[in-house]
């Protein structure tokens, strides 16, 4: 990796000094939508000079309802698997036109990133195109009606993995998307959660300075798909980090770093029972989830830098 790719410490953006302009406003997302928090905050950090690309997914469905246009910056809907390649094209096109100070940002959900868009994303990172890729992870294909994706955790009730007598819902664990992206030797990759908005803003701000591909995996709740009350969106996204089922980490200069290394985890069943999609789980399922979490954390603590 070249040294000029290393992100420098940018000026800190907080709620107080953040621009008052809204770039994602008047959209038709469900009340309490976590994905729109992720998109809104990211666009506020990258600013007006942003080219945003959205694959067929919730954010495309709620932002571009003719004659309404909820985005205030340049935004485009792409094919489902091609958001990364479209963003590559935009970024290279902007360069060819000699546009200065612009950033191309691709926003895709967990399905559009970890399953359908993975090939294009891999190619984008490989080519080293100047794109920030943000994956907002609500743990299923929400826009099409809550189908299981590669990032759906064990025991989730979705329409394609219905929970019943024989199955506890989804039988697979979350894909290690962050590690897959980091394995490309990307200049900057991070995981974040909308439950920790300041941390997320800092990471977007850092990724913005990178000249080349950068990736942020942000956990975003979905009240509609999760069967949780709309007002708990942020609470759940915070709790998932506190229980250890999701982690905050960064990858830069070839090494991993855990940003948050809690001494004790919060109780997993309390977090799961707040959501309709986990209501059916039994003791043995909790145990399985906990074992998987401990296995993952043991590995992360052993191999990654942490405080």
């Amino acid at each position: 990796m070249k040294d000029d790719n290393t992100p420098t410490a940018p000026k800190r953006i907080t709620a107080k000094n953040m621009t008052e302009k809204e770039f994602f406003y008047g959209h038709k997302a469900c009340a309490g939508c976590g994905g729109s928090v992720a998109v809104r905050l990211a666009l506020k950090v990258t600013g007006e000079k942003t080219f945003a690309a959205f694959p067929a997914g919730c954010m495309a469905a709620v932002g571009f309802i003719y004659p309404q246009m909820a985005f205030r910056n340049n935004a485009i809907i792409t094919t489902f698997p091609g958001v990364a390649s479209m963003a590559s094209g935009i970024s290279v096109g902007a360069k060819a036109l000699g546009l200065k100070g612009y950033k191309t940002v691709a926003f895709a959900g967990d399905g559009g990133t970890a399953d359908i868009g993975l090939q294009a994303l891999s190619g984008m990172i490989d080519r080293g195109d100047d794109v920030m890729y943000i994956c907002y992870d609500n743990e299923a294909y929400m826009n099409t009606g809550i189908q299981k994706s590669g990032l759906t955790p064990y025991g989730t009730h979705t329409t394609t993995t219905p929970a019943g007598k024989n199955f506890p819902g989804s039988k697979t664990q979350k894909k290690n998307l962050f590690e897959i992206i980091a394995a490309h030797d990307i200049a900057y990759a991070a995981t974040a959660s909308i439950g920790y908005p300041q941390d997320y803003i800092n990471k977007v701000n850092k990724a913005k300075q990178v000249k080349g591909p950068s990736f942020i995996h942000v956990f975003a709740s979905c009240p509609t798909g999760w069967g949780s009350p709309t007002h708990t969106s942020i609470e759940l996204a915070k709790e998932v980090v506190d229980t250890g089922l999701f982690f905050l980490a960064e990858y830069e200069n070839g090494s991993f770093k855990l940003n948050k290394n809690p001494k004790a985890f919060k109780d997993i069943p309390t977090y799961l029972q707040k959501q309709g999609r986990f209501k059916h789980l039994k003791e043995e399922d909790y145990k399985l989830i906990e074992e998987h979490r401990d296995m993952k954390w043991e590995r992360m603590r052993r191999n990654w830098k942490h405080s």
């Binding site: 976590g34 309404q68 246009m69």
Partner: protein
């Protein structure tokens, strides 16, 4: 207010009235979201410490920063209640809409 507002939308009658491309210009809002609400957030400015957590976590960006304490844009608030739930001082109350 540094936000797009509702514009008067008239159905195009002639082909020249249609936008060039598939959309109108950025920030073109044809209607409001106020009808989605059953509860609306009311900020108690006495209790509020202007920490702006509600401003950060609002999915719709309807909390408006002002010189003193934040306000709400009721045209686009959907009444999800995230702001009231996350407020560290319990300064936001969800009040049932009277229609």
């Amino acid at each position: 207010m540094n936000r797009p507002t509702k514009q008067n939308y008239q159905r195009p009658t002639h082909i020249d009235d249609f936008p060039v491309g598939p959309q109108f210009e950025a920030g073109h809002l044809a209607d409001t979201n106020a009808g989605w609400r059953t509860f609306k957030p009311v900020i108690d400015h006495e209790k509020c410490i202007n920490c702006l957590i509600c401003y950060l976590v609002c999915p719709d960006g309807t909390i408006i920063k002002t010189e003193t304490k934040p306000d709400v844009d009721y045209d686009y608030c959907k009444g999800c209640g995230v702001c009231a739930h996350e407020c560290p001082k319990d300064a936001i109350e969800m009040v049932k809409e009277q229609r």
